[in-house]
């Protein structure tokens, strides 16, 4: 299939259809409303379900009901809307329902703003609702990657019977780039959905719930979920390295749009003979802890610098992964301000200056 120029939000919508997800529930919120507008036209063409709910609270609960049929379902929203969805996400995680949720993040807290940010990292990766659960989190840095990860998200949701969240900052939603869709989406086989509620014909009733009044059974459920998250940590860690080499003095860690900006900064620094490598987590949960530990532990690395469009959120996970081997610093802008490659270059030069042995001529 030839490449076509598409806006991120529309490309994400089309990718879902390619993955066989033709059931979409939504509520308008900037900067992702184009997904809803696009699908309101496309769903009737593919014979799918499109429904605009009365609130994000209702939409996420509609997903609970819709996912119970065993069909692929999804929604898209932005930060304040995702907060309202946390109730149902917790219930769906507890009831082991597959669902895909896209968060095109804007600045917060509260109503915040409508410009790109990455400030929902904690909410996405640490269980945004109540209870012992996680959602699998994927973070694309290009529109093509958003397409690829969106299709993968449905597969992973079904594989683990767990909510999967794809988080992109507003830039990913609003930017236009050439993208390519597969002619036919292929994925590894999945087990039949024997858990789906399809009517108790010739079998016992199926009950889909997260309620376990017996503490032993509730703990059993928590262990079942825990085992799935451990399996994700073994099988679903995704990341990419850019210009990581034995010459690097500094290791950058950044994801999403921020990682692309860092790539430009790294290219600029190369011209000044400053060697910097980038480690880009693609799966934010499971987090590539071991890989970051290994990269940061290499002898040539003096410093690790985490760069975000948020206030030192992923920084905590990177610092934990590095386990004190090296100094981990943070640089970030937020509230809708996107750091430029020049800002990143400046930060790296500052870090290098700090490490230079101080000249002692003054004392002479």
């Amino acid at each position: 299939m030839a490449k076509i120029l598409m806006k991120g939000n529309e490309a994400i919508a089309e990718a879902a259809l390619k993955a066989g997800a033709t059931n979409y529930f939504c509520y308008p919120i900037t900067p992702q409303t184009e997904v809803a507008e696009y699908l309101s036209r496309r769903m009737p063409e593919v014979g799918g379900v499109f429904l605009q709910g009365e609130s994000e609270l209702a939409v996420a609960n509609m997903l609970f009901g819709a996912s119970s049929t065993g069909k692929r379902v999804f929604t898209t929203s932005s930060s304040p809307g995702i907060s309202l969805m946390q109730e149902a996400i917790s219930y769906m995680a507890g009831a082991q329902l597959p669902v895909v949720i896209v968060n095109i993040m804007r600045g917060g807290p509260g109503l915040g703003g409508i410009l790109p940010a990455q400030s929902d990292y904690f909410q996405a990766t640490k269980a945004g609702g109540h209870g012992d659960y996680r959602v699998l989190v994927l973070a694309p840095s290009t529109i093509q990657e958003a397409v690829d990860l969106m299709m993968l998200a449905f597969h992973l949701a079904d594989k683990y019977r767990n909510p999967v969240m794809m988080i992109g900052d507003g830039m990913i939603g609003q930017m236009m780039e050439p993208v390519e869709f597969p002619e036919k989406y292929k994925e590894p086989p999945l087990p039949p959905k024997t858990w789906a509620a399809t009517g108790a014909k010739g079998r016992k009733p199926i009950i889909i719930k997260s309620l376990y009044l017996d503490p032993n059974l509730l703990e059993d459920n928590a262990w079942t979920l825990h085992d799935k998250y451990e399996q994700m940590k073994k099988e679903e860690v995704r990341f990419e390295r850019y210009k990581v080499s034995a010459k690097n003095r500094i290791l950058l860690v950044a994801y999403g749009t921020m990682a692309r900006i860092c790539q430009t900064a790294i290219d600029e620094l190369e011209k000044k003979r400053i060697s910097v490598g980038l480690f880009r987590p693609i799966s934010l949960f499971p987090f590539p802890e071991k890989q970051i530990y290994q990269e940061a532990g290499k002898k040539n690395i003096g410093d690790v610098l985490v760069i975000e469009m948020s206030m030192a959120q992923m920084y905590e996970d990177v610092d934990r992964a590095v386990r004190g081997q090296k100094q981990v610093s943070f640089f970030g802008r937020t509230g809708g301000i996107v750091p430029s490659p020049e800002d990143v270059v400046e930060q790296i030069e500052k870090l290098i200056d700090k490490r230079k042995p101080k000249a002692k001529k003054k004392k002479a």
Binding site: N23, V49, M62
Partner: protein, 258 residues
Amino acid sequence: MDRSDKTIFARPEALTDTITHYCPGCTHGIIHRLVAEALDSLGVREKALGVAPVGCSVLAYNYFNCDFLEAPHGRAPALATGFKRLRPDMIVFTYQGDGDLASIGMSEIIHSANRGEKFTTIFVNNAVYGMTGGQMAPTTLAGQITTTCPMGRNVEQTGQPIRMVELLSSLVTPAYLERVAVHTPRHILQAKRAITKAFKYQSEGRCFTLIEVLSTCPTNWGKTPEESVKWLEESLMSYYPLGCKKDPEKPELNDGTV
């Protein structure tokens, strides 16, 4: 006397053989049975999906012999919407109490009704939060004593109780809205007709159907089952009049298309 082996009374197929957790004198058991009889009479048990609420009937899924979802508090209509939109061939119902439906789930029920979602809601109104131990509900009568209004509901501070059937009947879209009671055999028969009709309308593909059932709560009303029936008849029924507010067969009740 003819003593043939003909069964004249049996447990409906749509109910499981389980002892319920409901208190003595509570009418949830009767209402469960009426719903089950309606599913049986229409032959739809095998393609039925129930949605349980949060409240006394949170465990309804243990008593009905059909597929079930357990919803977050108040969200049963949203779950039912999502399910039925994807499976219009199935028969979907929510079973909700007054705290669940008229308080925390007010938004979900109104918008589901207004979109004309093709499921049936069984709304059980006993004027109190039952499961949490008898707190004031939006349906608690003026002056009624509960654990969070121990001096009686003060309507100057908390407003008058909400009449859900009347409120929903202001919407143009819903197909069928009726309030019934189940405290006497005559009322049980009327309720059975209404519940069966609601499911029949749903199977015909008509828009939203809701039956409000006035129920007793001797435990939280602080009354005996007998006193509860009397209080229901004298107090509850005078504020919540029984009757039909919308029915496709009664065009005089409809102010728009159904």
